[in-house]
Subunit: 142 residues, 2 copies
């Protein structure tokens, strides 16, 4: 099974011990198109793991640069796989995020660059987040 190997390798590469919860949750992200909230992970894994374990696993993955958090207009925390080469403590997922009003899926538009914005005098920007909401390609074309 190629997926299982990938999962184990990813965990090893990030100096994480290979446990059931980490394998299962990472697998979930690899299988899912779009971002996942904590509650999504909880639903998908059923009673397999404790709520606290899911929190801790997500937190660990964020720290290691395996997943990144996504700010959303409704202020709920969502997570998605890092595609760029993020490393421990150093994320550089500089892409636009899209939330579909119809199916509520959150997409990482990895090929859409963050536009540069000219700020008023005195303001220095370090990080720019862009969240666009509307209709996604799946919901629009039908």
């Amino acid at each position: 099974m190629i997926v299982e190997t990938t999962i184990n390798e990813t965990l090893r590469k990030n100096q994480l011990s290979v446990t059931d919860s980490r394998k299962k949750i990472l697998e979930l992200f690899l299988q899912t198109q779009g971002a996942l909230a904590h509650s999504d992970v909880e639903k998908q894994t059923g009673t397999l793991f404790d709520r606290v374990t899911i929190y801790r696993t997500l937190q660990t993955f964020v720290e290691k640069g395996i997943i990144h958090t996504i700010p959303t207009a409704d202020n709920s925390v969502k997570y998605a796989l890092c595609i760029d080469e993020c490393t421990e403590g150093h994320h550089h997922d500089n892409h636009v995020h899209f939330v579909c009003d119809e199916c509520n899926t959150t997409f990482c538009l990895t090929h859409v660059q963050i536009p540069s914005v000219k700020l008023p005098g005195g303001f220095t920007g370090k990080q720019t987040d862009v969240i666009i909401s509307g209709i996604c390609s799946r919901c629009g074309n039908q």
Copy 2:
């Protein structure tokens, strides 16, 4: 007192009855540079109003187009006065938001336009939120 008159007028104009909590909370927004979280309002008003009343007041103000919510990278809900002429159910606060990493103030950069972003085929954007974090003009110039 010109402020008191403004406050009452704003409430009246939005077909809201004039109550202590609404007056006080609206006054707070008028006096404050930057956005406020629910917890900020709670702290600033002390024991004057119940937590639930604050939630309901903020909600009402958002519905009426008096204040708008701001998505933030740390996924906490913030509110700020609408400067544009927003009406019941119709917000058009199309400006950039800035969060200072130093003083944690959230600013509405009302004069900075939202840049237009070219989306991949099939995606239709309706609303774009831009949140920039960095150092604000107050924290930078000293």
